[in-house]
Amino acid sequence: LPTDFDWRDHGAVTGVKDQGSCGSCWSFSTTGALEGANFLSTGNLVSLSEQQLVDCDHVCDPESPGSCDSGCNGGLMTSAFEYTLQAGGLQREEDYPYTGTDRGPCKFDKTKIAASVSNFSVVSLDEEQIAANLVKNGPLAVGINAAWMQTYIGGVSCPYICSKRLDHGVLLVGYGAEGYAPIRLKDKPYWIIKNSWGESWGENGYYKICRGHNVCGVDSMVSSVAAIHTTP
């Protein structure tokens, strides 16, 4: 594995998006992973529609039928991959733009599918495997506890205490070997996370969190998706 890796340097990551005042982070995490997978499959980076997921994806967790993807009220990336697999794919952002509300009807147009899922899987709770899957398969959809993110401005976040109760969906796009961690008197590695709160938050919309101890639960819900090359 390379010591440092960032999918942004390889053209697999679209610009930072803004979910607005809507709990649709799960849809941005999902589209981000599929955008990367589609890039690896086709060589083209296409921004995909979160609104399609917000409006049309109501897939429920098979283990818990009451827990379903539900627009601004929340969802799960693996369920969203399942929806995308069943629906045939996602439209482009420009064809089905984000509105930040979940009150509209589903306007999915199957003739305008821009990216399709071939399969998806969950990655083990092992940082080397997470890094290997990231490098091999593209950006990964991950869950995180966002308690420290409300006040985050920059740097490598490495809180002494952080709940592992996952409440936010984000996109893992890379890692670095030497983040600044003065409290441990040495440089420590970190993950590079793409968030969906606009460029004015964090480091131009990105978050760095230290690697090594499943900090804030970042290693515990990681999923990878693969795309198939489709012609609209």
Partner: protein
């Protein structure tokens, strides 16, 4: 900053006590009213009435104290005023977070284990 190590050389991640200069968060807290005005302008915030404005100022002050606590417990990051500084933690969770609890189905496909050497 002065750093006092309390760990032996071969212990990797034992916590040490760090003494740092007072951060600019103290200045933010002392001049919270002024910084709130800048915050409102910078992020284009609008509030329904003076009552709402006063309430948001109180939340803002509370979040500055919270940012200071975060800074102490997360010294390698920078914490401070963000566009969410006028939201209580529960408002923040309600409006911007939305990940449901994961209960992995028994048949969930596990990613194959990849080689990580060379």
């Amino acid at each position: 900053a002065t750093v006092v190590a309390a760990a032996s050389e071969d212990s990797d991640d034992l916590l040490i006590r760090q003494v740092v200069p007072e951060s600019n968060l103290d200045d933010l807290i002392l001049n919270a009213d002024h910084h709130f005005t800048s915050f409102v302008k910078k992020f284009g915030k609008t509030y329904a009435d003076t009552e709402e404005h006063a309430y948001r100022l109180s939340v803002f002050k509370s979040n500055l104290r919270r940012a200071k606590r975060h800074q102490k417990l997360d010294p390698s990051a920078v914490h401070g005023i963000t566009k969410f500084s006028d939201l209580t933690p529960s408002e923040f969770r309600r409006s911007y977070l939305g990940l449901r609890r994961l209960k992995l189905p028994a048949d969930a496909q596990k990613a194959p284990i990849l080689p990580t050497n060379d």
